[in-house]
Symmetry: C2
Subunit: 490 residues, 2 copies
């Protein structure tokens, strides 16, 4: 006989399956969809969003949640996540959810066109519409509380703008100090070579496999903005190719592999259940960043990579593994967040965090955003934005309504710092393995300690369980000081 | 104020949008999906099928259909199609619909593996399951009537197995006679050249555009089995490449362009409504076949194509446009339906029709299918099937539950014969245009006479309106006798 819990989970399983479809359409939209299909796709996404919203607010859920009896802690965790989703969903009116889905779907195409044409004005009316809808959504969720917190909670349950801002305030001085010191030191040599697209993609595929990406349950394609999409047994990633800068492709790939491995590494028993997905964007980002930076950009691993690249691309004008490590870890003020080095990256995030909080609060008008962005960028990075595609049009996030998402990138870096500290403690021969291109000990341990749990534990708890201590920013900042101190002879 | 009709259409519009999503997942499954995702995809498709079935059987539809007042003939046609869909859907139990979706989704992967491994036994248990479910579906639909008619009605409303069999009986003697005469005549020279994949795909793209395919609302990819997918402003096609036989790629492409242009050519006012899709598989096939054969394989057009191919591929060992036309129109017994010439093609279809009728009636056991196929093939085509991939494993149809679909291919050829007769009458300079590679007058007329109407008229009516006469098999058979008589000097 089916218990109430079983009925609830059977219903939930179908909802999760439909949510996977929505994700797949998102992937399609950024990789495969013909441009002329954008408007129709908006209607399709809105219809599916309507179905999902109806299911997430289905009246039976309230009864099931009242009556279901968990048999163990896992059942209890499932119920907790279903209840959280139900509480959030019932606060958002169905017509608002559908309008958001429709507007953000078409906004993405408008953003891409505006970015290609470098025309901010083409994007502003749509962005204003997205923000107005997100403000309505936040107001419905916050019920008198902070609007930004309400949005952030969707990506990082338990985090608040206030504690995040406080942590950012603690981090900023050390990052600014490190940045100043590095920029005064001798810069690494310039890379001056042409790396063919096909050869880059071949190496990207090899790197993905080496970092544990399972191509029988995923695929790697090109897209404007690298991303990972899907849960369970269909987790797809994208990258991009710049022929003069192969590290853009390689490290975007490794980054997305980190995200994908998190999803692919979850206990298969959790497939198509609330536990069957990464628990938060911050924990997700911890995986992508530890793969990309603490492992992929470690001098031990770049030594292996240097030899590989000579084999694959021929001599490309870099003389030593030491210079190669410094080039891969080059620190310089740059316009693009996703291309930023580890020292600058969190400064980009802090800027987005402040701007989007102001937008959502209504303290910053959309018409003033470009000026606000450019002023802040000049102040923080010491260079003037030269074109909108390098400024406020660079990221897809706002077009698709992802407000409250940016700070999770830095939270992810903080968690990655903690996980890396634990890896170094638990795997004394880590550098030895990395120098032979062997990622398996490290990625295997992350899978065991973090990835397999999916949504089982709350974000800070999963990091604490994996490392033995509550997460703080100190390990990340210590790691950055030590690594860049050594690379730049500080 | 919204009328009942408006309410109904708003609901229907969302259903159509969700059905488009289902189609897009089908496309993804055959072009992009990683193999290891098949099982999860089965659950996703089943969940979406459950949503669609619930909407198609929604109790409000019965009331709306009773009360809606059409303002004009188009409204009436919308209501007629919604009523037909509702009547069909309410006859099929929801759990049967879901099981069919789940089984056919996984069956497709099993079929593809069995075909690649040439192992019939790997496919039979799944095929038996599909057939059992289709028999249940047919019984639910037929309510005492003929099972096969009930299935066929889904693809070609108004057609029956009996009238189809009678028409096939009238066609067969003339086809067999023509076939015998051609096979006794001198065969065209062999093509012996290697045509690179990339150059083939480039020419395929140019051909697609030339035949009117709008790449801003579609895309061309590789797949095992060429197909067209989608309606409205996102209609995607696939083709395949055989490096020794470029016509496989080129004519598969032109064929699918015919299907896609039908969907893309429909009056945009019908977008995401029941009228916004091709009215039947037979009429669909009439477009793909008239593009592929009556236009694309006409000696006038192949003269242009001959010069193009020399420009693109260099000399490839064919001396004259006359030999080229004979090569493109080579008649020979072959294993593969989709590669069959115009003389043999309908004989393939007639064989499938007889076999699948017997399977559905229960007169032929799945275990005996391979022998039945091979015996019949030897009798009809004079050659023994050499491997299952060339025999009963060649087509995707049965794995995805498409029983009753095959005869619509020959109905489509018959309609194409009628449409071609009318084109020749109405466009006296057609050959002149074709010989310059100009398809626009012909495809423009097909768009105006057939495509733009979508589901507005019943299948035989749309052909009758376009040609001025009820469709019969005579124009097709006359065209085949005349064309192959001239090419082979009969």
């Amino acid at each position: 006989m089916m218990s109430v819990f079983d009925d609830l989970m059977a219903f939930q399983r179908e909802t999760e399956a439909l949510a996977q479809i929505s994700g797949r359409l998102g992937w399609d939209q950024e990789t495969m969809m013909p441009r002329g299909a954008a408007e129709q796709r908006g209607e399709e996404m809105a219809a599916l969003e309507g179905v999902l919203h109806a299911r997430r607010t289905d009246l039976r859920l309230a009864d099931w949640l009242d009556e279901a009896e968990p048999q163990d802690d896992e059942d209890a965790a499932q119920l907790r996540l279903i209840r959280r989703s139900y509480d959030r969903a019932t606060k958002i009116p169905a017509d608002l959810a559908q309008r958001l889905a429709r507007v953000t779907s078409t906004a993405q195409g408008i953003w891409a066109d505006a970015r290609a044409a470098d025309k901010v004005a083409d994007f502003l009316p749509t962005l204003a519409e997205v923000i107005a809808l997100k403000q309505q959504e936040a107001a419905a969720l916050a019920q008198g509380g902070d609007l930004y917190d309400a949005l952030m909670d969707d990506y990082e349950p338990g985090a608040t703008a206030e504690t995040t801002a406080a942590m950012f305030d603690r981090m900023r001085p050390r990052l600014v100090r490190l940045r100043a010191a590095v920029l005064e030191a001798t810069a690494p040599p310039k890379l001056d070579h042409h790396f063919g697209e096909n050869a880059q993609m071949r190496f990207a595929r090899d790197l993905a496999a080496r970092f544990g990406y399972d191509f029988t349950r995923g695929r790697l394609d090109l897209a404007v903005h690298p991303f990972s999409s899907g849960s369970g047994s269909d987790v797809r990633i994208t990258t991009r190719v710049v022929e003069t800068d192969p590290f853009n492709c390689f490290y975007s790939t490794i980054h997305e592999v980190g995200h994908a491995c998190y999803e692919l590494g979850i206990d298969p028993d959790y497939l198509l259940t609330p536990l069957g997905a990464g628990v938060s964007m911050g924990v997700h980002e911890s995986q992508s960043r530890v793969y990309e930076n603490q492992l992929g950009r470690s001098p031990a691993f770049t030594g292996w990579m240097f030899r590989q690249m000579i084999d694959r691309f021929g001599e490309f004008g870099v003389d030593s593994p030491e210079d190669f490590a410094r080039i891969v870890n080059r620190v310089q003020p740059g316009f693009i967040r996703t291309e930023a080095d580890e020292v600058h990256y969190n400064l980009h995030v802090m800027m987005r965090f402040d701007l989007e909080r102001a937008l959502i609060r209504g303290d910053l008008a959309v018409a003033d955003l470009e000026a606000a962005w450019n002023d802040r960028f000049l102040a923080d990075f010491g260079v003037a934005v030269d074109r909108p595609a390098h400024g406020m049009l660079q990221d897809v996030h706002w077009s698709v309504g992802l407000f409250g998402y940016f700070p999770t990138y830095t939270l992810g870096n903080v968690y990655a710092g903690c996980l890396h500290q634990a890896l170094r403690r638990d795997l004394p021969d880590l550098d030895d393995q990395l120098s032979r291109g062997n990622l398996a000990p490290a990625t295997g341990r992350l899978r065991e300690k973090v990835q397999r749990h999916g949504g089982r534990y709350e974000p800070r708890d999963v990091i604490a369980r994996a490392t033995g201590a509550a997460p703080t920013e100190a390990p990340l900042l210590d790691y950055l000081d030590a690594k860049f101190g050594a690379l730049y002879g500080l």
